[in-house]
């Protein structure tokens, strides 16, 4: 599903040059659940951004779901992104739309036929246990509910891969557990998951394969 080969990423030039990633090589097979762990500034977010082509590596190869990501033309980037569900620390819900509309909006903009939008949105809401809050606006949701809505939006388009960047970062322990349960459910339905977190305890709690990063380098690949 994911293959990185000697990937490096630098920002700036001269004295302002900053190496965000250096010589990263790993692979994730289809159906795996992998945790990407490391402190803030370790390069986790930059690495995720390379996977959905929000950034281009300075060196090395990146392959995701069969796409040679750095070589993708602008016109083909949407195809890659349709195969990936992305969840962020802040849920990034659209404030002026209800939970249902947030999901339906995403389905419509990627060209889902109108008659399929409602059933698919409700299936996704059911999967994250949020059917009852479909008509609520983001401001009316708790942080945990907002993150579950964000997960529902990510999985509504049936992605092959789910990238979760600190999905529990803003949540208390109880809400974080709820979100992790939902992500486990999504994984068990066949979606490959790459979850980035700075919380070492959370990585241990999940008992999954864990990639540990420090200062832009991959230190360990365990589990």
């Amino acid at each position: 599903m994911i293959r990185l080969h000697h990937v490096g990423k630098t920002f700036g030039a001269g004295p302002a040059k900053h190496t965000a990633l250096a010589d990263i090589t790993f692979g994730i097979d289809k159906g795996e659940f992998v945790v990407l762990n490391g402190p803030s500034g370790a390069g986790k977010t930059t690495l995720l951004r390379l996977l959905y082509r929000d950034e281009v590596p300075t060196e090395g190869d990146v392959e995701v779901a069969g796409f040679d990501v750095p070589a993708l033309s602008r016109r083909r980037i949407p195809r890659l992104r349709r195969s990936i569900g992305i969840v962020f620390q802040d849920a990034k819900l659209l404030a002026g739309r209800t939970v249902f509309e947030n999901i339906a909006f995403v389905l419509r903009v990627i060209g889902t036929p109108r008659k399929e939008v409602t059933p698919r949105a409700f299936t996704a809401l059911k999967a994250v246990g949020l059917s009852a809050r479909a008509q609520a606006y983001p401001a009316q949701l708790s942080q945990g509910e907002a993150q579950r809505a964000s997960l529902a939006r990510a999985i509504a388009k049936s992605p092959q891969l789910l990238l979760a960047d600190e999905p529990t970062g803003n949540l208390d322990e109880e809400m974080a557990d709820e979100i992790l349960d939902v992500i486990e459910d999504i994984w068990q339905r066949g979606t490959t998951v790459l979850l980035a977190t700075h919380q070492a305890a959370l990585a241990e709690q999940l008992k999954r394969r864990t990639l540990t990063m420090r200062q832009g380098r991959l230190l360990k690949d365990e589990g």
């Binding site: 959905y52 929000d54 602008r74 016109r75 980037i77 949407p78 195809r79 890659l80 992104r81 349709r82 195969s83 990936i84 992305i86 990034k92 659209l94 404030a95 909006f105 995403v106 419509r108 903009v109 990627i110 060209g111 109108r114 939006r153 388009k157």
Partner: protein, 294 residues
């Protein structure tokens, strides 16, 4: 998908608020001004055409030809370049025509010892020759004929009417262009405001894999809708103004230009005005910054 994008465009239009409304009003103003000058030019153009058809050159003859001489003369004049029709007016016909035009004072003519009027040829130039240069050349050709004593007539005043028509056309285009430019800039501002309001939406669209066309099409549709609404309002204003003012102005038109009634834009011209509005709006929408994958 198109229905969804149109819905998003309508949502964007509501978001644009007062700036969006200003853009619509500016488009209305620019197209109404353009339409006004278009109507004036259209009616003046009709007058010019009508008067071109009425241009006559009269060649007065030294002596009245008789019998076959008339047919021979008519045939020779008809063969000249720039002649559409030619009619022989005998001295007797000229006199009775004068009597008719004098009306109640016609008896004055009877006091004359003899008919003082010469026979003449009334020449109608072809539409191409009904210009100042064309009629001047025709006058020269007729003057060169030995039977002809004097030639009168020309198309100078028709040409000055045509010059007025061109002036209206140019003024209309100038005023319309300035206002259209202002309208485009306002649509661009309205669309840019919407782009700012849509930043979050565009980011989500980009992340989930929407194509650039899907991201930008609502902006284009928003601009086109503004343009179309502005054009429809301008057209409605023109229809109303024509309905109110045309009946009051028609007597003046008849007196000065000889037009029995004024005309309004044809359905094709109205469609062109609406399409022009939509294009103005679309152009403004396209100018707004915000490439999806910049």
């Amino acid at each position: 998908m198109l229905g969804f994008l149109a819905g998003e465009a309508a949502r964007d239009l509501r978001r644009a608020g007062r700036v969006g409304l200003s853009a619509i009003l500016l488009i209305t103003l620019s197209l109404a001004a353009l339409g006004c000058f278009w109507l004036l030019s259209l009616n003046l153009g009709r007058a010019v055409e009508q008067w071109r058809e009425r241009v006559r050159v009269v060649a007065y003859l030294r002596e009245e030809p008789r019998g076959a001489g008339v047919d021979d003369l008519l045939a020779r004049v008809q063969a000249l370049d720039g002649v559409q029709r030619v009619r022989f007016v005998s001295r007797a016909e000229a006199l009775s025509s004068l009597k008719r035009s004098l009306g109640a004072q016609a008896s004055v003519v009877d006091q004359l010892p003899r008919n003082p009027l010469p026979a003449s040829l009334e020449v109608t130039p072809t539409p191409e020759a009904a210009t100042p240069d064309g009629t001047r050349e025709l006058v020269q050709r007729l003057s060169a004929m030995s039977e002809v004593d004097e030639v009168q007539g020309g198309a100078e005043w028709v040409e000055s009417l045509a010059q007025w028509q061109r002036l209206f056309q140019l003024t209309g285009l100038g005023v319309g262009a300035v206002l259209a430019l202002a309208a485009i800039l306002t649509v661009t501002t309205a669309t840019t405001l919407v782009l700012h309001a849509r930043r979050d939406e565009m980011e989500i669209m980009r992340l989930v894999g929407a194509t650039e066309a899907v991201i930008r099409l609502p902006l284009l549709l928003q601009g086109m809708t503004q343009g179309l609404l502005g054009a429809a309002l301008a057209l409605a204003a023109l229809v109303a103004a024509h309905a109110v003012f045309a009946p009051r102005l028609e007597p003046l038109l008849t007196l000065t230009l000889g037009l029995a009634r004024s005309v309004f834009l044809s359905p094709a011209q109205m469609a062109l005005l609406l399409a022009g509005g939509a294009m103005l709006g679309a152009f403004g929408g396209l100018l707004a910054k915000g490439r999806a994958y910049s």
